[in-house]
Amino acid sequence: MLRFLMLACLLGALPLVSVSAADENASSFGRVAIPAPMKPADASECVEPVEVMRRDHMKFLMHQRDVTVLEGERNSKYSLVGCMDCHNPADASDEVVRYENTQHFCAGCHAYTSVKIDCFECHADRGLARSEQSELVSGDQSRHLSAHTFSQKLVPARVD
């Protein structure tokens, strides 16, 4: 009888436990939290509806990279630089969020879905304001190439 009562209590408590866990946080069951990437503060909408971007952003980027490299079309709305300017802007005062950090706009979902890309082995993983680019041309010899990050000194040219 005692055993039956205990079982009944346990069964009765189970739904309560699961409901409260789902409400609070899925990770209390050891699951990976669904990423909630930060939305850009100064833009209301992306270049396509969010559902389209979630599913097809890689197709846009893949197409755009060939158009850019082969034909020189750099002002398209699907440019990776454009993505970064909006989704990971970096100015001199901010700490740069790197792709290795799951707080990075791209990295959160890629980690969640176990996608491994190599875009950012070559491409900048943060936006770079146009004003900063022009400073690169006129700055002094040993200044940083991008905010906080690139501190290699430029050395004089080698003579051949």
């Binding site: 010899q141 690139f150 004089p156 040219a157 003579v159």
Partner: protein
């Protein structure tokens, strides 16, 4: 194709001169360039694209180099900037097994790093030693110049500026030395007979480096 670069037969190839496309080129007046000017060219390129050269390294990035020419008789020295010559018939394109090394319609020779497998055939084929290979993992590349380990790179003629400004663009090296009304490097359309660079070439002539190879480089040198 017998081996890369050697064709048994070739179909007729359209000459870029009749295509109506521009062909971008540079005219470099070596009479007006001294050593510090050429250093300025190299530094400007480094800043623009975020590469740097390492002293005494045989494998560092070399988008543009300073070349010193000395006349052994008189001891006269001359300095010139040396980079990808953007050939009309680029040997690097002939040998590339993946088509990553390619010539754009406007004559700029580039590496498509998305398809480059890092075999470095193009580095072997280039008679101007214009290309270099990235041996190490890089961080914090600039937005205008994506570069990464395992790919070959070279001068792009500042293609991001050209795509933005067209004939009014000025590559970073030229911008660095064309200061205060002084003009030592001209950029322009070699196919347009009315362009400043073509007019100057017509009036003064210029040298194509290793013209004997018939590659028809887009970079021309005056005063050599």
């Amino acid at each position: 194709m017998i081996v890369p670069g050697v064709m048994l037969y070739q179909t007729g190839q359209a000459s870029s001169r009749s295509s109506g496309q521009p062909r971008w080129g540079l005219l470099i007046d070596t009479n007006a360039l001294n050593e510090s000017d050429v250093d300025a060219c190299v530094r400007a390129c480094q800043r623009e694209h975020g590469w740097n050269s390492v002293p005494d390294s045989k494998t560092d990035a070399q988008w543009i180099r300073k070349v010193k020419l000395t006349d052994p008789e008189s001891g006269h020295e001359r300095f010139l900037p040396m980079m990808c010559q953007h050939c009309e018939d680029p040997p690097c394109v002939d040998v590339c097994p993946t088509g990553a090394s390619f010539k754009r319609q406007d004559g700029i020779v580039l590496v498509n790093k998305h398809t480059c497998i890092g075999c470095r055939y193009c580095m072997m084929a280039c008679p101007y030693k214009a290309r270099s290979f990235i041996h190490e993992v890089l961080k914090d590349q600039l937005a205008v110049a994506p570069r990464g380990k395992g790919t070959v790179e070279s001068c792009t003629l500042c293609v991001h500026r050209i795509d933005r400004d067209g004939a009014n663009a000025l590559p970073a090296c030229a911008e660095a030395v064309n200061q205060e009304g002084r003009k030592t490097i001209w950029f322009g359309d070699l196919n347009d007979p009315q362009s400043e660079i073509s007019q100057r070439l017509k009036a003064l002539g210029a040298l194509k480096l290793r013209a004997d190879m018939g590659l028809n480089p887009g970079i021309r040198y005056q005063g050599l």
